[in-house]
Amino acid sequence: MTELLGIPPQVLFGQVMLGLINGSFYALLSLGLAVIFGMLNVINFAHGALYMVGAFVAWMMLNYLGIGYWPALILAPLVVGALGVVLERTMLARLYHLDHLYGLLLTFGLALIIEGLFRNAYGVSGTPYPIPEALAGGQNLGFMFLPNYRAWVVVAAIVVCFGTWFLIERTRIGSYLRAAVENQELVRAFGINVPLLMTLAYGGAVALAGFAGVMAAPIYQVSPLMGQDIIIKVFAIVVIGGLGSIFGSMVTGLGVGVIEGLTKVFYPEASSVVVFVLMAIVLLVRPHGLFGRPRT
């Protein structure tokens, strides 16, 4: 059998596939972060906590209200989005005229509070969330056994990412948003409600995090720590992709997932650092990230 770098090709395909699956989560989360940074100029450290809240809302719906996975996939992001709107209106909106650092500190504090509350209520070991019946089982692809649920994650994540990109880059409301980023005063002069746009952008972006949380619930333990684990990596991905670049964050999310997956084969010990090594290299070579452009 031919081998690539000492690894049979089937194993390699399998790992690339798994990398894409993990990359889907990265893409969904980094997309939301990129939208928030691009539109609101806020570095949203609460993103991981809201991803965790999404997973927990799905879990609570199932356990307290008997609402299953599919309705939760719509409802939980709406709940998280609504929470985001409240946070934006009552707190974040007051900080737009200040330095980035204030937004970062506020959202970091919020993340600690939200995670602390859940940790207090549910402990750290987490609770299980079953895979929806329609997606139980898996397919034997020859080179690997692919659980149906994971295949669904990739498809759903790509559809949602593309939808978001389309909304921002190709629709009228998206054009308002982009215009408001360039010049708020002028857009306001045209009679467009800019603060409302900002609120919607934040609510929509954190709803994406909530969506990712629901998608993650059946794969990982639903645990108050799940957001912490992933958010630092996602920040690195946004930096690699170029701060505020929507397309860049999506592509980088998937790409980093694959690179991380391959690291797990060749040198597993380094799998948790590889994304930061990549970030350092990219920053040295292209300080604005792979797809970013200098901000004026």
């Binding site: 049979p8 089937q10 194993v11 399998g14 790992q15 798994l18 990398g19 699956i21 993990n22 940790r119 402990g123 750290v124 070991s125 987490g126 609770t127 299980p128 079953p130 895979i131 089982g137 898996g138 690997m144 056994f145 659980p147 649920y149 994971r150 794969i219 990982y220 333990q221 645990s223 720590l225 799940m226 684990d229 992933i230 997956g261 797990k264 084969v265 597993p268 010990e269 799998s271 948790s272 650092v273």
Partner: protein, 403 residues
Amino acid sequence: MKRTTTATFGALAALTLALPAQAEISDDVLKIGVLNDQSGLYTDLAGPGSVEAARMAVEDFGGTVNDKEIEILSADHQNKPDVGSSIVREWIDEEGVDVIVDVPTSSVALAVNEITREKDTALLVNGGGTTRLTNDDCSPTTVHYAYDTFSLAKGTGQAIVQEGGDSWFFITADYAFGHSLEQDTAAVVEENGGEVLDTIRHPLDTSDFSSYLLQAQGSGAKVIGLANAGSDTTNAIKQANEFGIVQGGQSLAALLMFITDVHALGLETAQGLQLTTGFLWNMNDDTKAFAERFAERRDGQYPTMVHAGVYSSVSHYLKAVAEIDDDGGEAAVSQMKQMPVDDFFAPNGEVREDGRMVHDMYLVEVKSPDESEGDWDYYNLVATIPGDEAYKPLSDSTCSLVN
């Protein structure tokens, strides 16, 4: 001149001779420092539960030792050896802490072990599992109490090989504990005629195990040994289920699993797993009484073997200190070695020269949802492993305290 010198020497000699008799509890207060993970992946198996267990032990002891107040401190070491070390140094130097308890995360336990040795402070390890604590790194001030990686290997590893699981693939947490558990289990596997095909080492606190599981699946090993703990173990088991590992004919060996992990996974996923534990809460009336008291104070959480071990080790330590009226690390620990342990946790326990507390371990199987009679009723007892078989014999010890 000469007379003065002789007199001084005489006085000094008298003072030195008098010292042991004057040994007493320093600063008129006995301070117990519970050091563990209070925010990360090992919080539920140790964390605030261990603090509560220590509190219960102190209350049951009467709140004072030889009329001296007992105080409990606690801190979060974040699973980082440097953080743990600086807390312990501050505790000993500034706060006058006399005994450090719990310390899960073997890398932290090993770092603290060096400080307590240097500063003559007692260390009662319950959460940490590495056998290095009673071998190469053994110390006259350390007692390793609830379990160790050798006993886990002996329990779970041996049982699985004897049932025919003779080829192994390890998924190991890449730090002191994982290495120790993998090594001890591999030795047991090979001793019993099995073989180890391959090993993968993953960073501590990994959420996605699919890549490792796929590699383990491809290896064709009959048994996938999980040499990790806490949420690393639960995530790996959950995802192994998803990838159809067990349906595919391979079996999983969770080499260290606590009752809180089983609770988190749910019986649907965890049923049938064999594991080794140092404490069964529903073993008899005494263990039940402790567990129910604990659960009442912890919002319904039942004690892990670490929690029960903390209670038992603190009680045993207090008895020793009361006996000799001295809270020096080496003095207290050597007294602990003189006295047998006899409580609900270890009815016939003994602390050996190397610091190992030897007691029975239990091989259990996780019940199916139908068998379980309710929350926290999770284990069927398969076998009791007597202490002298469960722990590494003294004759094989590499500890310098063993002659």
